[in-house]
């Protein structure tokens, strides 16, 4: 089952819509609440990243019987050094974004922590593609 959500750069009040919709679906599927929590946290962080840094983006979620894959594509500044961005505490967020309580440099590390697979591709000046994959049962990992 596939879902698509639009993300708008700078609109923090709407970040969290995709994660809340996905949460409702996973709950209906009786996925282990701990796994739901991890998926939802990772997706929310990813949504916030797009909203905080990019101009616009989309979330594509594909839910199968044993897994959820999430694809976030954005048009934005891109990430020059992905290795650096993965470090806890590293952030390029603007002062305005930090003032809203975001931009602590925990986004990417938190995503990595909460999904089974994470891949990031980015082109500076064009945008970033984030892929996340989580299995519903620990045995499939």
């Amino acid at each position: 089952m596939q879902f698509r959500f639009e993300l708008e750069g700078g609109n923090f009040s709407k970040a969290g819509y995709a994660s809340s919709q996905i949460k409702k679906v996973l709950k209906q599927l009786s996925v282990d609440p701990r796994i739901i929590k991890r998926v939802v946290v990772a997706l929310y962080e990813a949504e916030v990243n797009v909203v905080a840094h990019a101009w616009r983006g989309t979330v594509l979620a594909d839910i199968e019987a044993d897994r959820i894959s999430l694809l976030l594509q954005d048009e934005g500044p891109g990430i020059p050094d992905i290795g650096q961005a993965m470090q806890e505490g590293f952030s390029t967020a603007s002062a305005a974004v930090r003032e809203m309580g975001f931009g602590a440099g925990m986004g990417l590390p938190n995503m990595k922590k909460n999904v089974d697979e994470l891949t990031i591709e980015s082109k500076v000046g064009e945008g970033t593609v984030v892929r996340m994959l989580t299995y519903f049962s620990a045995n499939d990992r």
Partner: protein
Amino acid sequence: MEETKFYHALKIDNDRCVGCTHCMTKCPTGAIRIREGKASIRKGWCVDCGECLKACPTEAIYVEQDDFQKIFDYKARVVLVPTVFIGQFSKYTTEEEIFSALYELGFTHVFQVEFTADMIHREMLRQMEQAEEKPVISSFCPAIVRLIQVRFPALVDNILLVKPPVNATATYYHKVLEEDGFSSEEIGIFYVTPCAAKIASLKGAEGYSSTIKGVINMDTLYNKVYHILKNRPKDFVPECVLPPSLTKKEMRWSQTGGEAKHFSGRCLAIDEIHNVIEFLERMESTTEVRNVDFLELRACDRSCAGGVLAVANRFLTAERVMKRSMKRDKAPLIYSDRLEALSYLKQHITIRPLQPNPKLRYEGNIEEVLKKMEQVRKLMCYLPGIDCGACGSPNCQALAEDIVRHEAQFSDCVFMQRNMEKHGKLDKEHAFRLIEKTWGKDRLNKDCYKKGAKYEGQ
């Protein structure tokens, strides 16, 4: 329909139910459907919050209660009065007047529900300290406990396992009376409830607990007491034994913020069930709600003052309780007397671990459920999204889910009927029969006696 795990106090009077959409659209768990002109409640989804009762224009939804005469089966007839009951009366009615009327009605003992609040508070603090996961959630409101079991099963372990005041006080006072020489069979403790959820939780699936023998609806008792007060001569001086008075904290315990105020860290008090749902949804799906330590969640607006069975306006009740509780002693009286009952309560103040009872829309394994969810999404391409409720389900989404569960048909939607008629797939007579199936026979006939019509009430 799914098995019933809970006792439910909300009932529908089919003679009064005229078949409208008020209750169905208000239900926070989407548990109500209209079939054959009458509302019906899906028991497994209902949390007894009472929103349907508040919304019903014909008083067709009621709260089942015990026969008042049942109190006379007992030698010690105890009425457990919550402070919101006192708040039903204006400041010109003294507590002595109210309590004396309760004795006049046949009770032998009057005791106040919030008397054990300080003990409960201590136990909550103790459990909170040991809690692995924050925020901890108060177990005060039974509708909230059920809501979490049904809609937020992952949060069940966050609920503190402490008896709510009515249960704790019943445990305590039962022991006091036993010490006074009454046998357990002679003691009849009756609770005056402001809401349906408390009845439902006290009654449970297996009947009442051993300490509480029955529940009296607050509106019923209010009428009885008010009748006595009104018929007393002007110079009447009430004389009765007063129950130990409550402190400010105890009196305000059931008010919004009454608990949250007494915990340290980040504490939030949220009342009204839709507000609670919105907050818990947010807590589940964003990381915005961080480092919250304590949640006081209440199903009714203004907490118990806004209970469905309360008579007075909830804002006035809340204000009266606040006023009456000013200038009170600070030290709770529970620690100064009846120490054996106190230590008994200390040992019996916790409740058993709560089980999740998730509301699942579809049966089957994950593949089957996924398939059903896909079917719902396909149906939603056709349904108009007007959410009128004319099909007998609360909204288009719910109808689509009902169809997939084989509990409704696509042609139940009045707009789809038009569409089908236009394309020659449904004849007029059949369409009308479909409407009658949902709304009952003759429901669309002219009726000048209905609410708002010209002979209403005649």
